[in-house]
Amino acid sequence: MTLYADLHVTRGAFQLDLELTVEPGEVVALLGPNGAGKSTAIRAIAGLLPITSGEIRLGDDLWDAPPRVFRSADRRPIGVVFQDYLLFNHLSALENVAFGLRARGTPKQTARAEAARWLETVGLSEYARTRPRSLSGGQAQRVALVRALATSPDLLLLDEPLAALDASTTLHVRAELSQRLGRYDGRTLLVTHDPLDAMVLADRLVIVEDGQIVQEGAPTEIARRPRTEYVAQLVGLNLYRGRAHGNLVTLDGGGTVTTASPSEGAVFVAFPPSAVSLYPERPTGTPRNTWPMQVAGVEQHAHTVRVRLTPHDAPAPMSLLADITTAAVADLHLTPGQHLHATLKATEIQTYPA
């Protein structure tokens, strides 16, 4: 049984239109900037917000189909992990996990035994009597996850599950969550604004901007071939739209790029910032992709320096990113406003139909 959601939600001036499917065993990530409508989508599927039109169903089982059908959250077979977990502070960790089972009619003793077993699977047996307030961020996250899983839901919804953790725990918890989702045979829908979470956890990404899907596909596909500025930024690529004729692409924003492989028509041109080199003078030997540029900004990354460049005096790609070594920064005496020449290796360029 597939989860099918055709969501249309109107809230004031904001309009959300999403069509989603999640297969059993599949992890789908909704990825997008803040305010893109991801939370609205997850709330609609959870039954916390009725949709304006469209339908949500699991197999043939209708959950929401205005104006006839609306099943409230407590009657949908779901488990939700909220961004800040929302563990009940007046209940122990064990009682939190047992809550869903109790609410669905399991006798008290059975529910508690079951909850204890779930806590054991995440290594939190000794915290069974602990109140959520006294748990660390990572522990609270695990309690929230098993609380959602304890009722054996058909659909698991994760709303920014790692956003509340500090950087040092995130790495560990993310790996653990990934394993756990791999073992879960229901459907998982994950909402996040962190591309790394999405890439690691999901089988398929759905990118949302301004309430609309802008791109959809496997993480590797999206990482290699972004289709919007936002996605390109997420995966750290330079991305341009243009018209190809043979090996020459005329960019919509100005400038041309010579590619290694020929193509025709409307295309995207993508390349990593590391494929760009900077020279104080126009390099000899005339590489074909050379543009006079101007330094707009310099940012220190882990082992490289990212330089943001804008065209200077001649047609060139708008807003170009280049990654260079710290040593190169010293050689070039980089300062904002400085004029440079940027070259690009044709072999590192991806072109694909727009």
Binding site: G47, D74, G79, F88, A103, T151
Partner: protein
Amino acid sequence: MTTHITRRRVGGRVPLVLFVPALLGLAFLVVPLVGLLAQAPWSTLPSRLFSVEVGQALRLSLLCASAATVICLLLGVPLAWLLARAELPGRGLIRALVTVPLVLPPVVGGVALLLVLGRRGLIGEHLDLWFGISLPFTTAAVIVAEAFVAMPFLVISVEGALRAADPRYEEAAATLGAGRWLTFRRVTLPSIAPGIVAGSVLCWARALGEFGATITFAGNLPGRTTTMPLAVYLALETDPDVAVVLSIVLLAVSVIVLACLRERWIGALR
């Protein structure tokens, strides 16, 4: 250095314009109570304290105030929930109506109760006719009068707690399969417990001190409707020393209850 000096001056000196009235205000609140204690007939206090009338009035007062608080809890908490959570047309008007007894002179409340629940009253007539129940001038009437006057305190306090509570916890409960009633019992109620306790204390204290509505609606029948405040008022005419003793007892009870509840529940849950 400069910031340090400035901060010291700002924090250290209270302007006289504020300090003098503040001190006067404090004295105004405390001096009458001190006077009460100073005037008490301490030597004869134990014998008067354990007299029949005092015991009777005290027992009746505690019983009625507690019963009224229970009624207020049973009716007031759902009312507060309705005001805070339900999408109600004319909610502002309903809230205004709830707070009317708060500003209404209690005597007027008593008259109103008499007109509605009295033997010739709108509802009282039928109560008498069909069930042979007559409320006025009974202990039950004391409880009704006290509940009428005290309920707004509870409703306002609980509604405030409900508004401050994060409704997303209720959503979390819903996604775990809990219906609205279960969610209310197991998630909402525990989270607003401090507000309910605080509201109950206020409500109980108000009921304990209730005078106007009680004497109007329930009269003054020793052993049946003469609560402590009524007894104080009566005694003042006949035997002022007894009035002082009764007042001290009321004062002590209020202080003890407030102190206990603050320490044990309000403090622990905060």
